[in-house]
Protein backbone atom coordinates (compact mmCIF):
# COMPACT_ATOMS: atom_id res chain seq x y z
CA UNK A 1 0.00 0.00 0.00
CA UNK A 2 3.06 2.18 0.38
CA UNK A 3 4.51 1.21 -2.96
CA UNK A 4 4.11 4.74 -4.31
CA UNK A 5 6.24 6.27 -1.56
CA UNK A 6 9.47 7.74 -2.81
CA UNK A 7 11.10 7.24 0.59
CA UNK A 8 12.98 4.16 1.75
CA UNK A 9 10.87 1.82 3.88
CA UNK A 10 11.77 0.58 7.37
CA UNK A 11 11.07 -2.89 8.76
CA UNK A 12 11.60 -3.82 12.40
CA UNK A 13 12.09 -7.47 13.36
CA UNK A 14 12.26 -8.63 16.95
CA UNK A 15 11.73 -11.93 18.77
CA UNK A 16 9.23 -10.02 20.88
CA UNK A 17 6.12 -8.56 19.22
CA UNK A 18 6.04 -5.98 22.02
CA UNK A 19 9.58 -4.83 21.28
CA UNK A 20 8.91 -4.72 17.54
CA UNK A 21 5.68 -2.79 17.90
CA UNK A 22 7.16 -0.45 20.51
CA UNK A 23 10.12 0.31 18.31
CA UNK A 24 7.78 1.01 15.41
CA UNK A 25 5.82 3.40 17.66
CA UNK A 26 9.02 5.30 18.41
CA UNK A 27 9.85 5.52 14.72
CA UNK A 28 6.34 6.72 13.92
CA UNK A 29 6.57 9.40 16.59
CA UNK A 30 9.77 10.62 15.01
CA UNK A 31 8.80 10.67 11.36
CA UNK A 32 5.02 10.40 11.23
CA UNK A 33 3.78 8.89 8.02
CA UNK A 34 6.81 10.06 6.08
CA UNK A 35 8.25 6.59 5.59
CA UNK A 36 6.65 3.22 4.88
CA UNK A 37 7.00 1.30 8.14
CA UNK A 38 6.14 -2.23 9.30
CA UNK A 39 7.16 -4.64 12.04
CA UNK A 40 7.29 -8.38 12.56
CA UNK A 41 7.72 -10.11 15.89
CA UNK A 42 6.98 -13.42 17.55
CA UNK A 43 6.78 -16.97 16.26
CA UNK A 44 3.87 -18.58 14.43
CA UNK A 45 2.17 -19.38 17.77
CA UNK A 46 2.43 -15.79 19.01
CA UNK A 47 5.24 -16.60 21.46
CA UNK A 48 8.76 -15.18 21.43
CA UNK A 49 10.59 -15.91 18.20
CA UNK A 50 10.77 -14.89 14.57
CA UNK A 51 9.47 -16.41 11.40
CA UNK A 52 10.17 -15.79 7.75
CA UNK A 53 6.50 -15.61 6.74
CA UNK A 54 5.65 -12.66 8.97
CA UNK A 55 8.89 -10.87 8.05
CA UNK A 56 8.09 -11.32 4.37
CA UNK A 57 4.64 -9.84 4.98
CA UNK A 58 6.18 -6.88 6.83
CA UNK A 59 8.58 -6.17 3.98
CA UNK A 60 5.64 -6.22 1.59
CA UNK A 61 3.75 -3.74 3.80
CA UNK A 62 6.71 -1.37 4.01
CA UNK A 63 7.69 -1.85 0.38
CA UNK A 64 9.13 1.12 -1.44
CA UNK A 65 10.73 1.11 -4.85
CA UNK A 66 13.50 3.14 -3.20
CA UNK A 67 14.29 0.09 -1.09
CA UNK A 68 13.73 -1.21 2.43
CA UNK A 69 16.08 -1.17 5.44
CA UNK A 70 15.51 -4.03 7.89
CA UNK A 71 16.46 -3.90 11.59
CA UNK A 72 16.82 -7.12 13.59
CA UNK A 73 17.56 -8.09 17.17
CA UNK A 74 19.09 -11.56 17.74
CA UNK A 75 20.46 -14.30 15.43
CA UNK A 76 17.25 -15.99 14.29
CA UNK A 77 15.77 -12.62 13.36
CA UNK A 78 18.62 -12.06 10.94
CA UNK A 79 18.55 -15.58 9.47
CA UNK A 80 14.79 -15.46 8.98
CA UNK A 81 15.04 -11.98 7.47
CA UNK A 82 17.60 -13.24 4.96
CA UNK A 83 15.24 -16.07 4.08
CA UNK A 84 12.31 -13.66 3.68
CA UNK A 85 14.36 -11.36 1.44
CA UNK A 86 15.24 -14.27 -0.85
CA UNK A 87 11.57 -15.12 -1.10
CA UNK A 88 10.85 -11.65 -2.48
CA UNK A 89 12.46 -12.80 -5.69
CA UNK A 90 15.58 -11.53 -7.44
CA UNK A 91 13.94 -8.47 -8.90
CA UNK A 92 13.30 -6.97 -5.45
CA UNK A 93 15.67 -8.75 -3.06
CA UNK A 94 18.58 -6.53 -4.09
CA UNK A 95 16.69 -3.52 -2.81
CA UNK A 96 16.38 -4.78 0.76
CA UNK A 97 19.25 -4.50 3.24
CA UNK A 98 19.57 -5.90 6.75
CA UNK A 99 21.35 -3.24 8.78
CA UNK A 100 24.11 -4.06 11.21
CA UNK A 101 22.84 -1.62 13.81
CA UNK A 102 21.10 -1.54 17.19
CA UNK A 103 17.38 -2.15 16.78
CA UNK A 104 15.82 0.95 18.35
CA UNK A 105 18.49 3.58 17.68
CA UNK A 106 19.16 2.15 14.23
CA UNK A 107 15.53 2.19 13.18
CA UNK A 108 14.89 5.72 14.49
CA UNK A 109 18.03 7.17 12.91
CA UNK A 110 17.40 5.39 9.63
CA UNK A 111 13.80 6.56 9.52
CA UNK A 112 14.84 10.16 10.16
CA UNK A 113 17.30 9.90 7.29
CA UNK A 114 14.75 8.18 5.05
CA UNK A 115 12.08 10.79 5.73
CA UNK A 116 14.37 13.38 4.15
CA UNK A 117 14.40 11.39 0.95
CA UNK A 118 17.87 9.83 1.34
CA UNK A 119 18.78 6.86 -0.85
CA UNK A 120 18.89 3.34 0.63
CA UNK A 121 22.70 3.26 0.86
CA UNK A 122 22.69 6.54 2.80
CA UNK A 123 19.92 5.33 5.14
CA UNK A 124 21.79 2.10 5.84
CA UNK A 125 25.12 3.89 6.38
CA UNK A 126 23.53 6.31 8.86
CA UNK A 127 22.19 3.44 10.94
CA UNK A 128 25.36 1.40 10.73
CA UNK A 129 27.48 4.31 12.00
CA UNK A 130 25.94 3.47 15.37
CA UNK A 131 27.66 0.09 15.46
CA UNK A 132 31.24 0.00 16.70
Amino acid sequence: MNSKSANVGIVIVSHSPLVAEGTADMVRQMVGDGVPLAWAGGNADGGLGTNAASILAAIERAWSDAGVAVFVDLGGAETNSEMAIEMLGQARSGRVVICNAPLVEGAVMAAAEASGGAALARVVATAEELSP
Binding site: D45, G49, G75, G76, T79, N80, M83
Partner: protein, 201 residues
Amino acid sequence: MPANAALIGGLIEACHQAIAANADHLSELDRAIGDGDHGTNMRRGFEAVYAERDRLAHLPLPKALEEIGLTLVMSIGGAAGPLYGTLLMEIGRQMAGDADFARVLERAIDAVARRGRAGAGDKTLLDVLYPVHAEVVRRAGLTGIADEAERAASLTFGMKAMRGRAGFLGERSIGHIDPGAKSCALLTAAICRFLEEQGPA
Protein backbone atom coordinates in the same frame (compact mmCIF):
# COMPACT_ATOMS: atom_id res chain seq x y z
CA MET B 1 -0.48 -46.11 -3.70
CA PRO B 2 2.37 -45.39 -6.15
CA ALA B 3 5.86 -46.17 -4.79
CA ASN B 4 6.88 -42.51 -4.81
CA ALA B 5 3.88 -41.46 -2.74
CA ALA B 6 4.49 -44.24 -0.23
CA LEU B 7 8.13 -43.16 0.09
CA ILE B 8 7.36 -39.47 0.63
CA GLY B 9 4.41 -40.18 2.90
CA GLY B 10 6.48 -42.63 4.92
CA LEU B 11 9.41 -40.24 5.31
CA ILE B 12 7.10 -37.47 6.48
CA GLU B 13 5.45 -39.79 8.97
CA ALA B 14 8.80 -41.06 10.29
CA CYS B 15 10.19 -37.54 10.79
CA HIS B 16 6.96 -36.25 12.32
CA GLN B 17 6.96 -39.16 14.74
CA ALA B 18 10.65 -38.72 15.69
CA ILE B 19 10.11 -35.04 16.51
CA ALA B 20 6.80 -35.55 18.31
CA ALA B 21 8.36 -38.21 20.55
CA ASN B 22 11.41 -36.08 21.37
CA ALA B 23 10.15 -32.49 21.36
CA ASP B 24 10.28 -32.14 25.14
CA HIS B 25 13.80 -33.51 25.25
CA LEU B 26 14.92 -31.09 22.51
CA SER B 27 13.45 -28.13 24.37
CA GLU B 28 15.16 -29.30 27.53
CA LEU B 29 18.53 -29.38 25.74
CA ASP B 30 17.76 -25.92 24.36
CA ARG B 31 16.89 -24.54 27.81
CA ALA B 32 20.45 -25.32 28.91
CA ILE B 33 22.20 -23.26 26.23
CA GLY B 34 19.55 -21.47 24.18
CA ASP B 35 16.05 -20.08 24.47
CA GLY B 36 14.33 -23.38 25.22
CA ASP B 37 12.02 -23.53 22.23
CA HIS B 38 13.77 -25.89 19.81
CA GLY B 39 11.42 -28.79 20.55
CA THR B 40 8.22 -26.78 20.24
CA ASN B 41 9.50 -25.04 17.11
CA MET B 42 10.43 -28.33 15.45
CA ARG B 43 7.12 -29.89 16.47
CA ARG B 44 5.21 -26.98 14.95
CA GLY B 45 7.24 -27.34 11.75
CA PHE B 46 6.71 -31.05 11.34
CA GLU B 47 3.05 -30.79 12.23
CA ALA B 48 2.68 -28.30 9.39
CA VAL B 49 4.41 -30.72 7.03
CA TYR B 50 2.36 -33.65 8.35
CA ALA B 51 -0.87 -31.74 7.72
CA GLU B 52 0.18 -31.37 4.08
CA ARG B 53 1.38 -34.96 3.64
CA ASP B 54 -1.28 -36.12 1.19
CA ARG B 55 -0.58 -33.27 -1.20
CA LEU B 56 3.20 -33.51 -0.78
CA ALA B 57 3.24 -37.30 -1.31
CA HIS B 58 1.86 -36.91 -4.81
CA LEU B 59 4.58 -34.54 -6.00
CA PRO B 60 7.79 -35.73 -7.66
CA LEU B 61 10.39 -36.34 -4.92
CA PRO B 62 12.63 -33.29 -5.62
CA LYS B 63 9.61 -30.99 -5.69
CA ALA B 64 8.20 -32.56 -2.53
CA LEU B 65 11.48 -32.01 -0.67
CA GLU B 66 11.62 -28.41 -1.82
CA GLU B 67 8.08 -27.77 -0.63
CA ILE B 68 8.72 -29.52 2.68
CA GLY B 69 11.70 -27.16 3.11
CA LEU B 70 9.54 -24.13 2.38
CA THR B 71 6.89 -25.32 4.84
CA LEU B 72 9.57 -25.76 7.51
CA VAL B 73 10.91 -22.24 6.90
CA MET B 74 7.44 -20.80 7.23
CA SER B 75 6.52 -22.70 10.38
CA ILE B 76 9.56 -23.60 12.52
CA GLY B 77 10.87 -20.08 12.99
CA GLY B 78 13.95 -19.49 15.11
CA ALA B 79 17.26 -20.16 13.41
CA ALA B 80 16.31 -23.79 12.84
CA GLY B 81 13.58 -22.88 10.32
CA PRO B 82 15.89 -21.29 7.77
CA LEU B 83 18.58 -23.93 8.36
CA TYR B 84 16.40 -27.03 7.96
CA GLY B 85 14.41 -25.26 5.25
CA THR B 86 17.56 -24.44 3.29
CA LEU B 87 18.77 -28.04 3.67
CA LEU B 88 15.56 -29.55 2.28
CA MET B 89 14.97 -26.93 -0.42
CA GLU B 90 18.53 -27.29 -1.64
CA ILE B 91 18.42 -31.11 -1.62
CA GLY B 92 15.24 -30.90 -3.69
CA ARG B 93 16.68 -28.37 -6.14
CA GLN B 94 19.96 -30.24 -6.57
CA MET B 95 18.22 -33.59 -6.88
CA ALA B 96 16.23 -32.31 -9.83
CA GLY B 97 19.44 -32.03 -11.83
CA ASP B 98 21.82 -34.59 -10.33
CA ALA B 99 21.36 -38.28 -9.53
CA ASP B 100 24.42 -38.51 -7.27
CA PHE B 101 23.01 -38.17 -3.75
CA ALA B 102 26.41 -37.63 -2.09
CA ARG B 103 27.00 -34.61 -4.32
CA VAL B 104 23.44 -33.35 -3.80
CA LEU B 105 23.87 -33.60 -0.05
CA GLU B 106 27.25 -31.89 -0.13
CA ARG B 107 25.87 -28.86 -1.97
CA ALA B 108 22.86 -28.68 0.33
CA ILE B 109 25.07 -28.81 3.44
CA ASP B 110 27.26 -26.05 1.98
CA ALA B 111 24.13 -23.94 1.57
CA VAL B 112 23.21 -24.54 5.23
CA ALA B 113 26.74 -23.52 6.29
CA ARG B 114 26.44 -20.31 4.28
CA ARG B 115 22.99 -19.58 5.66
CA GLY B 116 24.16 -20.06 9.24
CA ARG B 117 27.62 -18.62 8.63
CA ALA B 118 28.92 -21.60 10.58
CA GLY B 119 31.44 -24.35 10.02
CA ALA B 120 32.53 -27.68 11.47
CA GLY B 121 33.09 -27.61 15.21
CA ASP B 122 30.84 -24.61 15.89
CA LYS B 123 28.38 -26.81 17.80
CA THR B 124 25.50 -26.75 15.32
CA LEU B 125 23.57 -29.24 13.21
CA LEU B 126 26.50 -29.06 10.76
CA ASP B 127 28.45 -31.19 13.21
CA VAL B 128 26.00 -33.97 12.40
CA LEU B 129 25.53 -33.18 8.70
CA TYR B 130 29.23 -33.30 7.80
CA PRO B 131 29.84 -36.75 9.36
CA VAL B 132 26.58 -38.04 7.84
CA HIS B 133 27.75 -36.84 4.45
CA ALA B 134 31.10 -38.59 4.94
CA GLU B 135 29.24 -41.85 5.66
CA VAL B 136 27.11 -41.39 2.55
CA VAL B 137 30.26 -40.83 0.48
CA ARG B 138 31.87 -44.02 1.72
CA ARG B 139 28.60 -45.86 1.12
CA ALA B 140 28.07 -46.91 4.69
CA GLY B 141 24.86 -48.84 5.26
CA LEU B 142 21.75 -47.15 6.64
CA THR B 143 22.44 -48.43 10.13
CA GLY B 144 25.99 -47.11 9.92
CA ILE B 145 24.75 -43.67 8.90
CA ALA B 146 22.18 -43.57 11.71
CA ASP B 147 24.76 -44.63 14.30
CA GLU B 148 27.24 -42.05 13.07
CA ALA B 149 24.59 -39.30 13.28
CA GLU B 150 23.86 -40.16 16.92
CA ARG B 151 27.56 -40.38 17.74
CA ALA B 152 28.26 -37.05 16.04
CA ALA B 153 25.44 -35.34 17.97
CA SER B 154 26.84 -36.61 21.27
CA LEU B 155 30.25 -35.20 20.37
CA THR B 156 28.81 -31.67 20.40
CA PHE B 157 28.73 -32.10 24.20
CA GLY B 158 32.39 -31.07 24.39
CA MET B 159 32.20 -28.24 21.85
CA LYS B 160 32.03 -24.53 22.52
CA ALA B 161 29.15 -22.85 20.69
CA MET B 162 30.18 -20.17 18.21
CA ARG B 163 26.81 -19.31 16.71
CA GLY B 164 23.28 -18.52 17.85
CA ARG B 165 22.11 -17.80 21.37
CA ALA B 166 24.44 -20.50 22.75
CA GLY B 167 27.38 -18.53 21.33
CA PHE B 168 26.69 -15.80 23.92
CA LEU B 169 27.50 -18.33 26.66
CA GLY B 170 31.03 -18.95 25.41
CA GLU B 171 32.79 -21.53 27.62
CA ARG B 172 29.57 -22.21 29.52
CA SER B 173 28.09 -23.81 26.43
CA ILE B 174 30.58 -26.67 26.84
CA GLY B 175 29.10 -29.73 28.54
CA HIS B 176 25.73 -29.73 26.78
CA ILE B 177 24.59 -31.49 23.63
CA ASP B 178 23.55 -29.02 20.94
CA PRO B 179 19.77 -29.24 20.41
CA GLY B 180 20.04 -28.63 16.67
CA ALA B 181 22.62 -31.39 16.31
CA LYS B 182 20.38 -33.66 18.35
CA SER B 183 17.26 -33.01 16.25
CA CYS B 184 19.33 -33.54 13.12
CA ALA B 185 20.56 -36.91 14.43
CA LEU B 186 17.03 -37.95 15.43
CA LEU B 187 15.72 -37.11 11.96
CA THR B 188 18.62 -38.84 10.24
CA ALA B 189 18.10 -41.98 12.32
CA ALA B 190 14.34 -41.94 11.68
CA ILE B 191 14.89 -41.59 7.93
CA CYS B 192 17.48 -44.39 7.89
CA ARG B 193 15.19 -46.69 9.91
CA PHE B 194 12.31 -46.05 7.58
CA LEU B 195 14.40 -46.67 4.46
CA GLU B 196 15.80 -49.85 5.99
CA GLU B 197 12.27 -51.13 6.60
CA GLN B 198 11.46 -50.36 2.98
CA GLY B 199 14.06 -52.92 1.95
CA PRO B 200 16.85 -52.51 -0.61
CA ALA B 201 16.55 -49.30 -2.57
